[in-house]
């Protein structure tokens, strides 16, 4: 039985178990947790914390601009755990599709929306946006576009 504390800095967020794993440590953590019964990857997403660097995370965790968030579920024991990994722009991540094939679409979405590449992913292509799209919309430095309207003083499109 792997203790959550062995995997990284543990914490609670509104009563939910959270583990902060070190950069690159997510694959191993997911593998250990799989042996413990966390057989389903429920959710995998990322967060861009640009402009919010002094946020309070667990003690001993150095914050970076991005975070990868992986939600795991143990159906047998009805447990959930959330892995959070601090990542800076441009780092390559290891895919977890070899453990959780269900993460394939989710990792593609993170690639599409945030631009992170997952090494070992079987088919890393944009999933929601067209292939030729430029940029990654869920990054905070990606502005929300506007449709130009004819009224004067109206903000114009990008």
């Amino acid at each position: 039985m792997t203790e959550l504390a062995d995997l990284g800095v543990t914490g609670q967020s509104r009563g939910q178990d959270v583990v902060h794993v070190e950069l690159g440590g997510d694959h191993d953590a997911v593998r250990h947790l799989f042996d413990d019964g966390f057989t389903m990857c429920v959710d995998l997403t990322a967060v861009d914390y640009l402009g919010y660097p002094n946020r309070a995370v667990a003690e001993g965790v150095e914050t970076e601009r991005f975070e990868l968030v992986v939600g795991l579920l143990d159906l047998e024991h009805r447990r959930r755990v959330r892995l959070r990994m601090q990542i800076s722009d441009g780092v390559e991540l290891a895919t977890i599709t070899d453990i959780h094939p269900g993460a394939e679409a989710m990792e593609r979405e993170v690639f599409d929306m945030f631009g992170f590449e997952f090494t070992g992913h079987p088919y890393l292509k944009r999933i929601l946006l067209p292939e030729e799209w430029v940029g990654h919309p869920l990054r905070k430095d990606y502005d929300i576009g506007r449709i130009p309207v004819q009224f004067k003083d109206a903000p114009q499109g990008r």
Partner: protein
């Protein structure tokens, strides 16, 4: 956890690697697919075709690129994104108060569930306890929504398989439920009814009668479905043994909801991770055995019956009290108070211009939608707008099982299988 478990997991991992490496998924680019679309050799029956995005059985705008050998599906890949409107990005630009108007447009067949997941997440960040009546109204409304969503499934599933009469039956019953929604929320879809802090309005006068009417009339109609489809040999021929999924594969691919339950795994968040007041109501979790299209159909039909039990319980045990929390920082004051009290006017103004600030933190709230686990991951930086609002859509994840379900089947069965996964593209593409 003993050592034997370790051995098992190694085998499981190997099985999952084989699943990824299996030739069910067509992982080639559009250009390659176009180049291989039809072979020059007339004896070669292999070809690649697109089903959708304008195909009537693809439930909106789903495209499936299929590699066929004659009539048999070899490899396939769902191509999604046609309905993508950047709703998660939009969610970052709306206040927590405005959030439900946005998320309700994701899963348009069961909008109340997305509102519920968003509201539960916001309330957990706020540390808000909501009144008992609000909880029960939420439970009543979401169960009715589960019924209307499943009735829509029965209608479209029947239609896809050529039972066109069933389409009218399903839609007719769904309309009765939607009429009740219109009475309570003012809208048939996209209600914006469940909001952080409670619900938008109390149940209107006469709701008991309207609901009792639905509950007395629907059981006989559901029995008609049994006559029309369940026991019918043609229906069984078309659905039994078609698109079989095993429990191990379903869990590996992250499939939840009826898709997972059809394989025999009785995983239902209402029972396994109870939210709202589900521990207080009596209902059964419907499971299948074979994981085929028929089981998925039968599960949804019977889940309507189980939902009716919950609705009936709500009808007779609806507690009195407030329908939203009495916290003027979160919910607006009653309209009459605005004319009398300066403070109420200020609260009202502040709420609808600036919104309310939500304490810093991150939280994940999940509910059992008609399609599976619907989760909302919210991150707040202490401002009135979420820093990140992510919806884990069950349809989005469940769609990944499609290539595995389709492989080795006929094109005609593909229509049945797509329908049995019951994807709602608004939620897939968000």
């Amino acid at each position: 956890m003993a050592v034997t478990d370790k051995v098992d997991t190694a085998a499981l991992i190997q099985h999952r690697r084989d699943l990824v490496a299996s030739d069910a998924v067509l992982r080639i680019s559009e250009a390659e697919a176009a180049a291989q679309a039809s072979p020059g050799d007339p004896d070669d029956e292999r070809m690649i075709i697109n089903m959708g995005p304008q195909h009537p059985s693809t439930h909106g705008v789903l495209r499936i690129t299929m590699e066929l050998k004659g009539e048999v599906v070899m490899r396939s890949r769902p191509v999604i994104g046609y309905l993508h409107t950047g709703m998660e990005k939009t969610g970052e630009d709306l206040t927590f108060l405005q959030g439900p108007t946005n998320v309700t447009r994701m899963d348009y067949a069961s909008p109340l569930f997305t509102e519920l997941a968003f509201s539960l997440a916001t309330e957990q960040l706020l540390g808000l306890e909501i009144p008992e009546r609000a909880t029960w109204i939420r439970m009543l409304m979401t169960e009715l929504n589960r019924m209307s969503s499943h009735l829509l499934f029965l209608a479209t599933n029947g239609m896809d398989l050529g039972a066109v009469g069933v389409m009218i039956y399903g839609w007719k019953e769904r309309e009765e439920v939607l009429r009740f929604f219109e009475m309570v929320t003012g809208l048939r879809m996209n209600h914006n009814y469940i909001r952080p802090g409670g619900v938008a309005a109390d149940l209107p006068d006469g709701w008991e009668d309207a609901l009792a009417k639905i509950l007395t009339e629907l059981p006989a109609r559901l029995d008609e479905f049994d006559v029309l489809m369940t026991g019918q040999p043609i229906w069984r021929e078309r659905t039994q043994g078609v698109g079989v999924l095993t429990t191990a594969d379903a869990i590996a691919l992250g499939a939840t909801g009826p898709l997972l339950r059809s394989t025999g795994d009785a995983w239902d968040l209402r029972r396994d991770e109870p939210y709202l007041a589900y521990p207080e109501v009596d209902f059964d979790v419907v499971v299948g055995t074979y994981g085929d299209t028929f089981d998925r159909y039968a599960i949804r039909l019977n889940e309507i019956r189980e939902s009716m039990r919950i609705v009936e319980h709500c009808l007779h045990n609806m507690p009195m009290g407030d329908y939203r929390v009495d916290d003027r920082k979160v919910t607006p004051p009653p309209r009459a108070r605005i004319d009398q009290s300066m403070e109420a006017l200020i609260h009202h103004f502040k709420l609808f211009t600036e919104g309310y600030s939500v304490p810093e933190g991150e939280v994940y709230a999940a509910v059992e939608s008609p399609r599976g686990e619907l989760g909302c991951y919210l991150v707040s930086d202490g401002s009135p707008k979420p820093l990140r609002m992510h919806i884990r859509g069950p349809s989005f994840v469940n769609l990944q099982t499609l290539p595995h379900l389709l492989q080795g089947g006929l094109v005609a069965d593909a229509v049945a299988i797509i329908s049995s996964v019951d994807p709602i593209m608004g939620e897939v593409d968000r």
